[in-house]
C-alpha cells in the first residue's frame, strides 16, 4: 500500500488551494448539469448509450489512470527501470485493440448493460450471479483502495488528517455520481485526463532538465544500476536473474496475454465506458482511441520514476524512510513552483476520485441491473430502478470507506491490485474467450470455469508461492505465474465440463458467439462513420504497430 514518507509536506499556498477549490466546484457543477440528462435508468447506468467516441475513449483511459496507477507505475519505474513500459506497450495495447476489434461487436450488439449480463445470455444464471457478486465485491474493494490511498497522500502532502480527506473525497464522489450517474463520472474522467497531463508534463520537463536531459539521465543510471535498467528486455531470459522477477515468457503470457486481456476486456469498470457510446462504431473505437494516449502515458510515468532514482539516490533503499511510491510527490515538492504545484495536486486528487468513481459507477450498475433487478425485485417500473441505483451508489461509497483499510497489508499498490485481478479477472477472461469462440461450450461450463480459475490462482499465490513451495523471486513475478495457472486451469475445466453437460440451444446464441449475428445488429452506420480515420481496423492495427515501434529504442 502507499505509505508516503513523513516530511513530504508540499509548500502549497493560497494560489494552489484556489486552483484546487475551482476544480471541486466544477466537479459538482458537472454532476448537477448531467442531472438534467438523467431521465431513465439507462441514462443513469449507461449514459443512455449516447456519448461520442472521443468522450468514451478518454474516459476509458482515465478510468484506468487512477492515482494508484500513476504513483504505482512511477514507483515501478524507479524500482525496475525502463521495464515498467511492459505494463503499457505489451500489457495494455494488444488487449485494448482486441476488445475494440473482436469483442465489442458481441458486447454492444447484444445490448447488455454489463459484463456479467453477457454471461447470463451466453451461459446461465449461476455464472451470472457468481460473476456479478465477485465483481461487486472487487469494485467496492478497489474503490476503498483508492480512497485510503488518497487519504494517506493528502495527509502527507497537505497535512489534512486522514479522516477529513476520506470524508471530503467520499462525499464529493457520492454527490456527483448519485446526482448525475455515469455521465457525470465519465465527463469528470475526461476533464481529469487533461488535468493529469497538465500535472505530469511539467514534472517530466523540469525533471529531465535537472538530470541533464535523457543522455544525462541514462548515463547516470547506467553507471549506478547497469545497462539492463535502461532496457525493456535485457536479463529476461528464462533462468536469468532480473529485478522484475519475471522472464520473457511470463511477461508475454502472464502480463501481456492473460492479466492484461483479463483486465481490459472483462473489467466492467472499463468496458462500461465503451458500452455507453452512441453506436457500435463509437463503442469499437472507444478502447482504440484510448490506446494512443495510453501508449504515451508510459513516458510520463517512467520519466519521473527514473528521475527520482537519480535525484534521490536513497529512494527505496534499505534504511531510508523514502519508498518508491514517493517518487512523484518528491519531484512535485522539489521542482514545481506554486501555481503548477496546485495543478499537480489537483490532478493527483482528481485521479484518486476518478479511480474511485469509476468503480462506484460500475458497482451500482452491476448491483442494480444484475443482482437486484434479476434476482431480488424483477419486473418493477424503470423509475424504481433509477431510484434504487441512486440509493445503492450511496451504500457503495459508504462500504468502500469501510473496506479501505483492508489494503494496508501490501506495500506495493500495483502488486496488490494485480493480485486481485489475477483472482477475479483472469477466470472471467477464459470464460469469455471460450464462450465467444466455441459454440459448443455448455451452459454449466461457465460457472465451473470461473470457480476453478479463481481457486487455482489463489492456491498458486497463497500456497505454492507464499509458502515457498516453488521459489518465485518477487510478488510481480508470482502474479504473472498465478495468472497463467488460472487461465490454463479454467480452460481445462471448461472443456471437461462441456464434454459432460448440454450446450445452449443454437437459437439463444445469436449475436453472442463468433459467426452468429444478433437480431438487431443491422443498424446502418451513422453519417461520417465511414471516414477512413474512423475505421476500427485501421485505428487498431495502427496502435499495435506504434506500440511495437515504441519498444525499439529500449530493446538493445
Amino acid at each position: 500500500m502507499i505509505t508516503l514518507a513523513a516530511g513530504l509536506r508540499l509548500p502549497t499556498n493560497g494560489l494552489d488551494y484556489a486552483i484546487l477549490a475551482i476544480y471541486f466546484v466544477v466537479v459538482l457543477g458537472i454532476g448537477f448539469a448531467a442531472r438534467r440528462s438523467v431521465k431513465t435508468s439507462l441514462d443513469f447506468f449507461l449514459s443512455g448509450r449516447s456519448l461520442p467516441a472521443w468522450v468514451t475513449g478518454l474516459a476509458f483511459v482515465a478510468a484506468n489512470l487512477g492515482a494508484t496507477e500513476i504513483l504505482g507505475m512511477a514507483a515501478t519505474g524507479a524500482q525496475y527501470g525502463v521495464a515498467v513500459v511492459h505494463w503499457y506497450w505489451i500489457g495494455a495495447i494488444p488487449a485494448m485493440v482486441f476488445l475494440g476489434l473482436v469483442m465489442m461487436p458481441f458486447y454492444y450488439g447484444s445490448r447488455v448493460r454489463s459484463v456479467p449480463e453477457f454471461l447470463l445470455q451466453r451461459f446461465d444464471k449461476s455464472a451470472h450471479l457468481l460473476s456479478s457478486v465477485l465483481f461487486a465485491f472487487a469494485a467496492i474493494l478497489i474503490a476503498g483502495v483508492n480512497l485510503y490511498a488518497l487519504s494517506i497522500v493528502v495527509e502527507a502532502l497537505l497535512g489534512w488528517p486522514q479522516w477529513v480527506a476520506i470524508v471530503v473525497a467520499g462525499l464529493f464522489v457520492l454527490a456527483y455520481i448519485t446526482v448525475g450517474g455515469l455521465s457525470s463520472a465519465i465527463y469528470n474522467e475526461v476533464l481529469q485526463f487533461f488535468v493529469i497531463l497538465a500535472a505530469l508534463i511539467p514534472i517530466c520537463v523540469i525533471g529531465l532538465k535537472r538530470v541533464g536531459g535523457w543522455d544525462g539521465l541514462s548515463g547516470t543510471l547506467e553507471k549506478k544500476y547497469g545497462h539492463s535498467f535502461l532496457t525493456a528486455w535485457d536479463g529476461t531470459g528464462i533462468g536469468e536473474p532480473n529485478a522484475l522477477g519475471a522472464n520473457w515468457l511470463t511477461i508475454i503470457l502472464g502480463l501481456g496475454f492473460v492479466l492484461s486481456f483479463g483486465y481490459w476486456t472483462t473489467n466492467f469498470a472499463e468496458v462500461q465506458r465503451a458500452l455507453s457510446a452512441k453506436n457500435l462504431s463509437a463503442a469499437q473505437r472507444t478502447p482504440l482511441i484510448a490506446a494512443y494516449p495510453k501508449m504515451f502515458i508510459a513516458f510520463l510515468v517512467m520519466i519521473p520514476g527514473l528521475v527520482a532514482a537519480v535525484v534521490v539516490p536513497r529512494i527505496g533503499q534499505e534504511g531510508s524512510d523514502l519508498t518508491y511510491n514517493d517518487a512523484i510527490p518528491l519531484l512535485m515538492r522539489d521542482l514545481l513552483p506554486n501555481g503548477v504545484l496546485g495543478i499537480a495536486v489537483t490532478g493527483l486528487l482528481a485521479a484518486f476520485m476518478a479511480g474511485m468513481a469509476a468503480n462506484v459507477s460500475s458497482f451500482n450498475t452491476v448491483f442494480t441491473s444484475d443482482i437486484w433487478a434479476k434476482y431480488v425485485r424483477p419486473g418493477r417500473e424503470d423509475r424504481y430502478y433509477l431510484r434504487f441505483g441512486r440509493l445503492v451508489t450511496a451504500v457503495g461509497v459508504l462500504c468502500s470507506i469501510g473496506t479501505a483499510f483492508l489494503a494496508a497489508t501490501f506495500n506495493n499498490i500495483m502488486g496488490y491490485l494485480q493480485t486481485l485481478f489475477s483472482f477475479f479477472n483472469v477466470p472471467m477472461f477464459v470464460v469469455f474467450i471460450i464462450g465467444m469462440f466455441w459454440k459448443r461450450a455448455s451452459m454449466k461450463s461457465g460457472v465451473w470455469g470461473l470457480v476453478a480459475g479463481t481457486t487455482a490462482a489463489m492456491v498458486n499465490y497463497f500456497w505454492i508461492y507464499k509458502q515457498g513451495i516453488i521459489a518465485i523471486p518477487t510478488d510481480q513475478g508470482a502474479n504473472f505465474v498465478s495468472a497463467i495457472v488460472a487461465f490454463v486451469v479454467g480452460a481445462v475445466v471448461m472443456v471437461a465440463v462441456t464434454l459432460f453437460t448440454k450446450p445452449r440451444p443454437a437459437a439463444e446464441l445469436a449475436g453472442l458467439v463468433y459467426g452468429t449475428r444478433s437480431p438487431g445488429l443491422e443498424e446502418p452506420p451513422a453519417k461520417g462513420d465511414d471516414a477512413w480515420y474512423r475505421k476500427p481496423a485501421l485505428l487498431g492495427w495502427g496502435a499495435i504497430i506504434l506500440a511495437a515501434l515504441c519498444y525499439v529504442p529500449y530493446s538493445f
Binding site: 494560489l15 484556489a18 486552483i19 475551482i22 476544480y23 466544477v26 457543477g29 458537472i30 448539469a33 448531467a34 438534467r36 440528462s37 438523467v38 431521465k39 431513465t40 435508468s41 439507462l42 441514462d43 449514459s47 443512455g48 448509450r49 449516447s50 456519448l51 468522450v55 447484444s110 445490448r111 448493460r113 455521465s183 465527463y187 475526461v190 476533464l191 487533461f194 497538465a198 508534463i201 511539467p202 520537463v205 523540469i206 532538465k209 535537472r210 452512441k278 522539489d334 521542482l335 514545481l336 513552483p337 506554486n338 501555481g339 503548477v340 495543478i343 424503470d382 437480431p519 438487431g520
Partner: protein, 98 residues
C-alpha cells in the same frame, strides 16, 4: 427478446436527453481559466520560483498550454455546435418520464 426491445426503447428515449449537455464547454472554460491563472503566476514569478524549476518559467509555459487547450475546445464548440433537441422532442421526453 423482450429485454432487447426494452433496452432499444429506453435508448430511443434517452438519445434526446444526452444532447442537453456539452462537456466541451466545461473543459474549454476550466482550462481557459486555469491557463490565465497559471500564466499570471508565471508573469509574477519570483527568482526563487525560477530557480526551483531549473530556470524554466514553468508556470508561464504550462499556462500557455492550458489556455491553448481551453481555447481549442471553445473553438470546437463554435465550429461544430451540438444540435439542440427540438421543442417537440423535448415535449415528447417530458411526456415519457412525467
Amino acid at each position: 427478446m423482450s429485454d432487447y426491445q426494452h433496452e432499444v426503447d429506453l435508448e430511443r428515449r434517452s438519445a434526446t436527453a444526452a444532447r442537453l449537455f456539452d462537456i466541451r464547454l466545461i473543459i474549454g472554460g476550466l482550462f481557459t481559466l486555469y491557463g490565465v491563472i497559471v500564466m499570471i503566476a508565471g508573469f509574477t514569478a519570483s527568482d526563487a520560483d525560477l530557480k526551483k524549476a531549473e530556470d524554466i518559467n514553468i508556470n508561464l509555459w504550462t499556462g500557455v498550454g492550458m489556455l491553448l487547450l481551453g481555447l481549442f475546445f471553445l473553438a470546437w464548440i463554435k465550429l461544430r455546435p451540438i444540435v439542440p433537441p427540438t421543442a417537440e422532442e423535448l415535449a415528447a421526453l417530458q411526456e415519457d418520464t412525467d
